[in-house]
Symmetry: C2
Subunit: 339 residues, 2 copies
């Protein structure tokens, strides 16, 4: 049995291009006890994999891939063959062996901890791929960031960056529904307009339109109470300056820093001066909240009060373009590859 | 009535020298209702005043002083004249009008909020100046940082920087007494030895002996669970790398950054990767805890399980040297000026 997989051909030093990745045939070993063979149907394309493609990864994070390794990421697929009693051929499952057409997956915990474990999905009436997006890790990440880590309050003025992305677009809408004043930012005028017109943000800006700090000050003249960071770098710095006393930052992602080895101006003293709280999190540790997220987000999807957008690339041969486009801000909503 | 005060003569661009400060005679207006005239006896010399001596101060912090302004800081003094019913001549008081011999002080809240308000001190058996140190703002800062902000646990391995300083030396001993494994760092070999030999730290290092990250890794091979930051800059960066998952940082001070406009390598993603929590605080907001701190720290001072050291400069004419020495790491324990 052969699997076709997107593998690392060369470590990018800065910007990732499709040249750094290549499709390769990988032999699959026969199933062992406890394993299932999955035919993947949808791949979740997430920016964080970029952290593992360089020669080194941030310490404390997952280790870097080696040349020739297949990329990993959340995926959905159909069980073709099973040597585990909980899974039968035909079952829809999520797992971490994305970026390939067939995968042998063990039912033991996967790379993302709880959230990456091989899990059977009862898709009900929803489009299957939503279990990678609003009903999957993107929804979990947005929900956990706002409600478990930030401790969002209806009176908050909240800034959400990369707000047109998979996580940001859900976080924006959940915060709006919670009663917050939401400042949303994105990487194009079209996206920025959409955040106000369709997703309900109070104001928005395209961060290309000038200095992020000035744009933020204009959008939030009375400062912000909380910041949901998907971008890092200059966005994080701008947030520290704009936060009101006792303000909170949730560090979810830092896409602006994944492809550069930048330095930051040292305004970290703001954290002391204003008694700020800065907390990082990884949604993988909150897999036990999936049911609650699916119920909360699902009911909003059902009654039309939560909008979900997707950027879909067809065929494994376009997975590398999907990833490069995502890292360069050319996609909107959840970025997916359909096999 | 004339007060002699240490005033700002020129904004330092980087390193503060005694040339930037000068003693000036300031006329004092007659007392208004609610004011008292105080003859200062002890001045607390604290690094944070440096933040207000440049042409601009960090936004969110107190505003910069103007040329000619008297420096401010915590001080003890004796009431000479009173137009407030709660204060009588002869009372010992603490207030924020330091760096001068006489001061007119209003009983309304002072610059530091609760902790800076004009307050009568019942000095009992303790040396008066301890109410600026372990029984005053230094003790409050150490206590609040550990117990209210960090949430210290006996099982923690805690790194405390500037551990030979006013706040650090108390924090080190409180953490040791709490059962923690304490890694303490300071700016000389003599101080580092003292932290282990006299204050009970498990290990220590002089940060001049090499790269802070390497020295820390050597002192704490299994990583650290929490970091009490008095230094900022490269120390903060080293902590992010060394912290274990779910680790906590308390940002109390950042003395290494007060005199430079440095940039930092961007390893802030560690906060996300390891689900870290970073919290800033200012002790001034915790003045309501003074009684608890005085009881906790006082009983340890009384039974000899808490050691207190002081670097004392005599005479207002040496207050500027005291401040410059403090900023350059040449003092140990609480830095004071005795009038």
């Amino acid at each position: 049995m052969i699997s076709r997989a997107l593998c690392l051909a060369a470590h990018p030093s800065e910007k990732l291009t499709t040249e750094h990745l290549e499709l390769t045939d990988i032999p699959l070993a026969p199933l062992l006890d406890g394993e299932v063979l999955v035919r993947n149907t949808w791949l979740s394309i997430d920016p964080s994999i970029r952290l593992r493609l360089g020669e080194s990864a941030p310490s404390g994070y997952l280790p870097p891939l080696r040349i020739g390794d297949a990329l990993v990421g959340l995926a959905l697929g159909i069980v073709v063959e099973s040597r585990h009693e909980d899974f039968r051929p035909g079952d829809l499952v999520s797992h971490m062996h994305g970026y390939r057409d067939f995968a042998v997956v063990s039912a033991a915990a996967g790379g993302l901890g709880g959230a990456g474990t091989l899990t059977r999905i009862d898709a009900h009436d929803w489009p299957q791929q939503w279990y990678l997006g609003p009903l999957g890790s993107s929804g979990l990440t947005a929900y956990v960031g706002l409600f478990e880590v930030m401790g969002i309050r209806p009176s908050d003025t909240v800034w959400i960056s990369a707000a047109a992305g998979a996580v940001g677009s859900i976080a924006t809408q959940l915060a709006v529904h919670h009663g917050c004043t939401v400042i949303a930012s994105a990487g194009s005028r079209r996206k920025a307009d959409h955040l106000v017109d369709a997703l309900g943000a109070s104001s928005s800006f395209d961060y290309h339109d000038g200095d992020v700090g000035s744009l933020l000050a204009q959008a939030a003249p009375d400062g912000i109470d909380a910041y949901f960071d998907n971008v890092g770098g200059s966005h994080f710095i701008a947030a520290l300056d704009a936060l009101n006393p006792e303000g909170r930052v949730v560090m979810c992602g830092a896409i602006s820093t994944y492809e550069t080895s930048n330095t930051l101006p040292s305004n970290l003293f703001q954290i002391t001066a204003k008694s700020l709280s800065v907390r990082g999190f990884r949604a993988g540790s909150f897999g036990h909240l999936y049911d609650r997220v699916r119920s909360t987000v699902g009911s909003r999807l059902a009654n039309g009060t939560l909008i979900h957008e997707e950027s879909i690339y067809d065929g494994l041969e376009h997975a590398s373009t999907a990833l490069v486009d995502l890292l360069n801000g050319r996609t909107t909503g959840k970025t997916l590859c359909r096999l």
